[in-house]
Symmetry: C2
Subunit: 520 residues, 2 copies
């Protein structure tokens, strides 16, 4: 790191060989399904192409994802200096020799080039699924992937939401908007998605668990027996509007350690894509049954009446998620420990909006929320500090110990004995191992008038001096002890992966039991 | 203007009374068509509403335009200070006591809040024309304004292009991109519009003038008789892709005088909207015939087969133009002499893209180009300087004379006699009154060896010392003499209005003769 130029190394180079091999691969993936349309038949007879894929647009999509990866890796170092020059820079609080006045500076808000690249590729991708070009090019009959126009409007409205989120995120990063003004940003970005959802005559019915009807009739509410779904109407839009606020902010508040925001988004995107793949009719039935009866066999993807609709929804979701995985991986290359680029709020708004958009358009918001279990845990754990039960310092990211090079939990320090509500909250959390409390024996102070203290007892009286801050990152440090910054990011990634496994268990195991097979 | 704070006055207030009266008017215009849908029938029977308009969505659109106006007026001063703080500021080169080091600073790039506001309103407007809400609410049968889904995709892709143009414009303003990198910006912004145009199976046929077929057959090319249109195919996309580059840059290069960019956009938007209105079936036929046979009576709007399609295209264009007029007027309030806010490239990209998008979607790109006559004149006039025939200084905006307070043409100065190609170009331009040349007698220098000069002649030999810069603004100053900055802006506005009148004459007078009635 040359501190001479006042900033850290700008990005890390990718092996040239990798770039030179993967660009042709990406272009081949994209061009291959197009070739039969542009090459003359004579030529094709002489030099037959490899057989066309079942999902030509999806194959092209994978090519675009590869381009997104390479593009992110190449573009982030290019623009870093310009960002620093405009004050879009930060200092790494968890590094030796770094400070707020002299840096070394790391460019901030590099979610912007990543998001721009992603959006440009997604725009160029439009003709693949949404035009006539693939009708009848594969053996599965015309139009398997040719979406009707209604789907194109959903796609475009998602892009509009993503672009709005990116732009507002960038404005936020640049002008450092106060958090009160930040709050509606995901709501505004969701406007195109929601308005088009409405204009298209959006579905506002919610499927009820079978047991709920039984429960309600047991409780004396008649008329609920056999009710499988209810129309939430306007309330459904409120729910949908809150979804992007949740997906955006829940990633944004688990931050502060190199690579941690991008790792979350990366694993969530992988999980969503894996879930989408399960709905494509490409798996042998025995495999699905073997995988713990993934969904029960009555799941939509196996029923012919719903198959087309459900497959299309999940294909659409894949089109968004696969390039997102590419761009996240590309950015992670630079954001990984030791970070040479920071994501900024732009990145969190952009990825959060992507998750919300596919969940809204694909009708799987509940499944999506399941993939956010670590973030939900973090939010619930944070509540005592967010709502004033326990003091909340401005930064709660872990503490860096320069002598060991390891991270330890950051702490909220109490100068005097904390009030009763704080004490009881912390002690309950301590009971579950969620926080680490430091106590000091109370000195026998000269008793003041009116004070009655237990002068003697079985236990020596103590008071709380400090407690670890209530975030998932500090919690991991409490449980596993001090660790290296890179290890902590890996640990959070592992938790995210484990949660996704759990989420699949809930979705396909418990979910099938609760809801029965009739699911959208 | 308090120079104590280092910047000029931020915006000028609008009379409060105007704001307090026009907001309710705007909301009424928007809500009125919605009321029959939400109020109970009993209530409506007791308190009948005023009759519903023929075009309820258009009425709401006018309401949105009013909101855009008020919003632009109110938001520009709000954000000015933050923009200056981030270096988005300029000094006014044509004002007394203003200089590049101390200002007073005027916030630059305030096209951003205007464009954001416009786009948000356009998103909120989506349900009005594109959902089921107005089907059958007026006496004209269901669906007169209810567009099919194909139109919604065009609308959304236009919004995507506008948002992309706005974002790239802002990035350009912020990072001060070199002009070589700027050039593709309108092309990139046009991607969504063009891709969706393609995916929708876009029309690539061009109607030929009747006389062209005759001319070609006269020249010996057979087979052209009676050919009314040809399919340009891929070339048509090249043409469409160049359109936004033209509309964007042609406004951007007529700049430098307070209010001049916004005035151009404002008048062009008004012209387009007026043209759109002519296609709505709301005019009595005698009026159309009276207006110099505006279009001939065979124009699409009068033929039942094409009426629906053509009316819809122009309604769509109106939906974009009317709020654009509102937002331009609102911004002009602050940008008018003496300017308290500058538009930045953001504004030019945004408005230019809006004109290109409606022209592409509405199939009236040729008519649109006609509304840019002053800009085309400016471009042609600039060519000698752009292509190196005449030296081109970095800034060509008019020169401010502090003693008179008036503007005079800025000049390109030649330290030594200009080369032949420059001299001849300037002299031809002088012949047409397009530039003002200053000459000086050539001193009788002591003749050097080998030089043969005409020692005596009828005319005393002179050489060119300077010439007025080749822009439309300097041209106006050459023709009408020095004038005040505000007068110059008004003069350009007058030229723009006169050109629009001429454009209508060409479009409906000459155009009908050349093309015959079969026009899209």
């Amino acid at each position: 790191m040359p501190p001479s130029k006042g900033h850290a190394q700008l990005g890390r180079p990718l092996p040239k060989l990798f770039i030179y091999t993967s660009i042709p691969i990406a272009l081949t993936l994209i061009a291959h399904p197009l070739l039969p349309l542009f090459l003359p038949q004579d030529f094709l007879n002489k030099f037959p192409l490899p057989p066309q894929p079942t999902y030509p647009a999806l194959q092209a999509n994978v090519g675009f994802a590869l381009l997104a990866f390479i593009g992110a890796v190449l573009s982030v170092p290019e623009v870093g200096e310009a960002f620093i020059a405009k004050g879009l820079k930060g200092w790494d609080q968890l590094k030796k020799g770094s400070n707020r006045n002299t840096g070394p500076w790391i460019p901030e808000c590099l979610g912007l080039p990543c998001a721009s690249l992603y959006l440009l590729l997604m725009m160029l991708f439009i003709p693949f699924p949404f035009s006539h070009i693939f009708q009848g090019t594969n053996g599965n009959g015309p139009g398997r992937e040719a979406f009707p126009k209604g789907e194109l409007t959903l796609y475009l409205s998602s892009l509009l939401s993503l672009l709005t989120a990116t732009m507002l995120g960038f404005i936020d990063d640049l002008f450092d908007i106060r958090w009160r003004h930040k709050l509606p940003i995901p709501l505004i970005a969701a406007v195109p998605t929601l308005v088009v959802y409405y204009a298209e005559g959006g579905w506002t019915w919610v499927v009820l668990p079978e047991s709920l009807g039984k429960l309600l009739s047991y409780l004396g509410f008649s008329g609920w027996e056999g009710t499988k779904s209810i129309d939430l109407g306007f309330l459904y839009y409120v729910y949908l509007a809150l979804l992007p606020t949740f997906t955006t902010n829940s990633i944004n508040i688990v931050a502060g350690v190199n690579g941690v925001e991008v790792t979350q988004a990366f694993i969530i995107a992988l999980s969503v894509a894996f879930n989408d793949l399960l709905f494509l009719p490409i798996w042998p039935r025995w495999l699905l049954v073997l995988l713990g009866n993934v969904g029960n066999p009555d799941e939509g993807r196996m029923l012919s009446w719903a198959a087309g609709e459900v497959v299309k929804r999940h294909l659409m979701s894949l089109y968004f998620m696969v390039p997102l995985i590419g761009v996240c991986a590309g950015f992670l290359w630079h954001n990984w420990y030791p970070a040479t680029a920071f994501p900024g709020d732009t990145f969190c708004y952009f990825t959060g909006m992507a998750f919300a958009a596919v969940a809204i358009q694909g009708h799987f918001s509940k499944t999506m929320i399941l993939f956010f279990l670590p973030q939900i845990f973090n939010f619930i754990l944070s509540c005592p500090q967010l709502f004033g039960l326990v003091e909340c310092p401005r930064h709660r990211l872990p503490h860096f110990n320069p002598s060991t090079g390891l991270l330890t939990p950051s702490r909220v320090v109490f100068d005097k004995a904390p009030p009763f509500k704080t004490r009881i909250t912390l002690e309950i959390l301590e009971l579950f191992g969620l926080t680490e409390i430091e106590r000091t024996p109370v000195h026998e102070e000269p008793s003041k008038s009116g004070e009655s203290k237990p002068k003697s007892g079985a236990k020596k009286p103590t008071r709380i001096v400090s407690a670890s801050n209530l975030t998932i990152l500090n919690y991991l440090l409490v449980v596993f002890g001090p660790m290296h910054e890179q290890t902590l990011c890996l640990a959070l990634g592992a938790v995210q992966v484990a949660s996704s496994v759990l989420a699949f268990g809930i979705r396909y195991g418990v979910g099938s039991l609760v809801y029965g097979g009739d699911r959208r």
